[in-house]
Symmetry: C2
């Protein structure tokens, strides 16, 4: 039996690590990295061979930095996993809610708790690099009037108290994570493909681009636009669609797209999160 090794951004008990263990099993060896850049660099150096990155949250939206890094780096998407994100207000054991003046957490978590901020307008919100890292800061600095927003695992690990459970705006709070690698790794039958492309300068370019999928009954799952750096008001598009590049239909669609696109990069074909049992079999 093989223990997978994977790196993630944040501190231990960050949601990325919890998602990595959901995907690979509890035996996975998870290596923390400070930044997303470092996760991509580590995977490029095969040290470790796998990385996990959050790509979108159902309340706060896409993590655009990781879309940009997928374009810039030579890695491929080999899997995905969805994780329910339960956000908790966490403080040292002797602190009560009315004593909290400042809250540390990651900007994504800030965007997922807007109703909580509206109901507690006097709290000062301080953005940090990580949810679990915010708990770590409070613990290490011995802060008193300060709380963090993070996972219950992070609270337990630092012997802290949860002052308020599940403070996210909606219970339908999921983050989708991508597993990245430089080698082809097969975690199951690929049925989803991600690409990025820029269109040529022509009328109706985006409409024509989507038509190559529609005309072949290939379902689009997501579209995301990002600015084309250096060319104001031009965009690149990230598309997820059903199907694998092993299939003739998908190959035909992309050959058709080449007629319309300035460039195309296939980010990977992989098993969609909802088509896999977790953790994935280590022998698959």
């Amino acid at each position: 039996m093989k223990n997978y090794e994977i790196c993630f951004q944040g501190e231990h008990y960050a949601f990325s690590e919890i998602a990595a263990k959901k995907f690979l099993g509890d035996s996975a060896i998870c290596h923390p990295r400070e930044t997303f850049d470092q996760v991509f660099q580590s995977v490029t150096d095969n040290n470790p061979p796998l990385g996990i990155i959050p790509i979108e949250n159902t309340l706060s939206g896409s993590i655009h930095q990781n879309y940009d890094l997928l374009l810039e780096n030579n890695v491929r998407i080999v899997g995905e996993v969805n994780l329910r994100i339960e956000l908790n207000l966490i403080a040292p054991a002797d602190v009560e809610l009315y004593q909290v003046k400042t809250v540390y957490t990651h900007p994504a978590a800030i965007g997922q708790c807007r109703n909580f901020w509206k109901n507690h307008p006097n709290l000062e919100i301080v953005p940090t690099y990580d949810t679990a890292g915010s708990v770590k800061i409070i613990s290490e600095k011995g802060l008193t009037a300060t709380a963090a927003i993070a996972s219950q695992q992070a609270a337990a690990d630092y012997n802290m108290t949860i002052l308020a459970h599940e403070i996210e705006d909606y219970p339908e709070n999921f983050t989708r994570f991508l597993i990245i690698a430089t080698d082809e790794i097969n975690f199951g039958a690929a049925n989803k493909t991600s690409i990025v492309f820029a269109t040529k300068h022509m009328p109706g370019a985006l409409f024509k681009s989507l038509s190559v999928f529609f005309l072949r009954d290939l379902n689009l799952l997501k579209i995301e636009s990002r600015p084309l750096r250096g060319t104001p008001w031009q965009y690149i598009f990230y598309l997820d669609f059903e199907g694998s590049m092993d299939q003739k239909t998908c190959q035909n669609a992309l050959r058709h797209l080449e007629e319309i696109a300035e460039f195309i990069k296939v980010l990977g074909s992989y098993p969609a999160a909802n088509s896999l049992k977790h953790p994935v079999s280590v022998n698959s």
Copy 2:
């Protein structure tokens, strides 16, 4: 002659204020607000009747919070203005570059200076609420080993030195700002329209939505997707297209879109930034 009054997020000499004066002229009276929420609330209360918000930058991308606020609030877009963003590293007059350990600035400016961070890996980057506000913090707290990234106007206002000019990744660094109001205000002939919609659950829904414009030769200028809060993996779409809701063609396109969309909200028809002389005439 009428002096327009307008509110913006940030401190005086924030890029939003500079953009407001480019649009309305130097006689405009600009009121700072702490948050984008407060800008929308002030405009809703007609106090003042106009607001300005950044909506996208050509390097760092869209400002998604303002897309969300356009959906949630009853305001209309009445104008837009593009501003070239020159970012400067600013410190108190006696501080030299090698002495700087920490840099304060807005997250958007952080994302526009990635090459600068790569070349200065030892700088600690601290996200703040505003570019000009970062200069203000350094001035008020008398910080020494700290610099801000902001406009040259902000440096001049606080008697600080520019240690490095135009440190953004590309000179093609523009931010597009929207002017919002509750009343209809005419700043010129409307030739651009912004809408937001969600599609019904049907195959090829996005393709069919874009077809209502393509079939009528209406050019799409931008598409932006955001999560539909409360319904995981479903999206709403923001579209900008050429034309005004005064025109029959645009009305027909939206009537067609109603057959495909679950809901549609017209955010406004207004003169595109590139079709206006600035400042706008106060009598137009």
